[in-house]
């Protein structure tokens, strides 16, 4: 049963570090919002109507058109899952946290490889998603587009000739598309250029998200960049624009990494080495500390300072050490302290195993 595997396995195709530019671009994601023409948007649905939406999508997902264009899909109502299992789907980025609220009315559609998923009755009736490793926005859009064509063979979408696809939140109207890349930018953070670079990007109709500590660097040095505009641009143009900005950023990040390796060689080696040492030997580790150290270690792997650990393991560890995964792996509830102990143990074990191969 594919769902069991999804829940037992932290690994997902998007984490395997295989795509282009995978040293900096962790993943590419395309989401599109669709609504059914005959029913109110999810926040106004009665429980029966919510069930109607799920049934309609289930029928469409089983249709020959969808099978042919997107493959075999499984529909799972959220109330068929335990709370921990639901949280795991969030931690693997297959659904958004919004799908956990009022979950009796919601469902998720998954393809076995977890590349394609559909959230049902989130803010819109359908949110189609494709998540791929590395910089593969075009590929992600093509997969979502094909799945969308397959679903539309059966479903009547709310569509307006002038405004395009109609969405619950008017800021998504038009293409209903949100394309994003998740970037690891430790170089730009270390050379202190990150704020300027991100501020410049945000003037281009793109949104940047990151987590900052006051006066310190972003935890994990991870940033998500996505399009803000959904009206007046074709999907292909939105994707092309985001790719070109991402390439610009890749150039700057690589330049920063080069400058650091050239001019701050010892400091960099020291930082990476310390992260490696602590990850390998610590017995208690909070999630912030893990994120910070895993970021440093990933940079060291990318710069070939550390050679016997694959970068994909870092992405996997980041997901594997999230709270719900730890609870799932432990098979019982964990107190915060137990969690930190368990997290450290898991990291030690995984790193040791990688070094033996």
């Amino acid at each position: 049963m594919p769902l069991k595997e999804t829940l037992n396995n932290a690994h997902s195709h998007w984490m395997d570090g295989s795509g282009p530019e995978a040293d900096i671009v962790i993943s590419s994601r395309v989401r599109v919002a669709r609504n059914l023409a005959q029913l109110p948007f999810p926040h106004l649905l009665s429980p029966q109507q919510a069930g109607q939406v799920i049934d309609a999508v289930r029928a469409a997902a089983d249709s020959a058109a969808v099978r042919e264009k997107a493959g075999e899909l499984t529909v799972i109502r959220m109330n068929e899952l335990t709370p921990v299992d639901r949280q795991i789907l969030v931690e693997k980025h297959l659904i958004s946290p919004d799908l956990l609220e009022d979950f009796e009315r919601k469902a998720v559609v998954l393809r076995e490889d977890e590349v394609l998923s559909v959230m049902i009755n989130e803010e819109d009736h359908l949110r189609l998603q494709c998540l791929l490793p590395g910089l593969q926005l075009n590929e992600a859009w093509q997969l979502v587009n094909a799945l969308d064509d397959g679903l539309e063979a059966t479903l009547d979408y709310a569509f307006d000739e002038k405004l395009g696809y109609l969405t619950a939140c008017p800021t998504n109207v038009g293409t209903g598309m949100r394309a994003s890349v998740m970037l690891h930018l430790p170089g730009l953070v270390l050379v202190n250029q990150i704020r300027g670079v991100l501020a410049a990007i945000s003037k281009l109709g793109l949104t940047v998200r990151g987590l900052y500590g006051e006066g310190t660097e972003a935890a994990g040095n991870l940033f998500q960049i996505s399009n803000q505009i959904t009206l007046g641009q074709a999907e292909e143009d939105i994707v092309a624009g985001l790719i070109s900005v991402t390439r610009q950023l890749l150039g700057q990040e690589r330049a920063a990494r080069e400058a650091l390796s050239r001019e701050r060689k010892e400091q960099l080696a020291d930082r990476v080495g310390r992260a490696y040492g602590v990850l390998k030997h610590a017995c208690i580790m909070s999630s912030e500390e893990a994120m910070r150290l895993l970021s440093d270690l990933r940079l060291g792997i990318n710069l070939e300072m550390i050679k016997n650990i694959p970068a994909s393991l870092i992405t996997e560890l980041i997901v594997l050490t999230r709270p719900a995964f730890l609870v799932h792996a432990a098979g019982r509830e964990l107190s915060p302290v137990e969690r930190d102990v368990y997290r450290a143990k898991l990291i030690r074990r995984k790193i040791a195993a990688a070094q033996q191969c």
Partner: protein
């Protein structure tokens, strides 16, 4: 001392920042709340209060500032399909159904213009239910191509494109006539 915006109890020490269109929005959090948010959504951080932000925009749109002639509230400002009222919409930032766009559309246009710079969709059209939009878009694309062909002095190509455009336009006309006679017979 600044208090945490989430729990309103502990002091805020972490700033969660989102930058859009050069505008920075910051959420001030205590360490514990930041940790919780981070644990919930590693990497893919939630959009900070996008609905509130939008509701703010809509609020301004629907409640023009006191200066200038005060517009009386539009009568019957509710969607007849789902019953959503203008007040509900301005509060939540969410529309109730596809029909709402007909009832609130005009008031939304300035908002679209501000966010997207336009009010017209230029992307995908559904294959089965898209109808004539698909053909119209196709014609627009061919016209552009024809212009480019003429600029490059590829006149043979331009003539081919012109013929395709004429054919599609004829198709549209026939469709419109069919629709019109359908309506007459009703």
């Amino acid at each position: 001392m600044m208090e945490c915006e989430r729990c309103h109890q502990r002091p805020a020490v972490i700033f969660l920042t989102e930058i859009t269109n050069g505008q920075k929005r910051t959420m001030r959090l205590c360490e514990q709340c930041a940790r919780e948010i981070q644990a919930e959504s590693f990497g893919f951080l939630p959009q900070i209060d996008l609905h509130n932000f939008l509701a703010g925009l809509l609020h301004n749109e629907f409640n023009p500032p006191a200066s200038g002639p005060a517009e009386p509230p539009a009568a019957g400002a509710r969607c007849e399909a789902c019953g959503l009222t203008e007040a509900q919409f301005a509060r939540q930032g969410l529309l109730g159904c596809g029909e709402c766009y007909k009832y609130f559309g005009e008031r939304l246009e300035p908002v679209f213009r501000r966010i997207h710079g336009t009010t017209c969709h230029a992307g995908k059209v559904p294959e089965r239910t898209g109808g004539r939009v698909k053909v119209v878009n196709r014609i627009e694309r061919l016209k552009l191509e024809m212009k480019e062909a003429i600029n490059r002095e590829e006149f043979e190509r331009a003539a081919q494109l012109r013929d395709s455009i004429r054919e599609l336009e004829k198709e549209l006309q026939q469709e419109d006539q069919a629709h019109a006679s359908e309506r007459n017979s009703e």
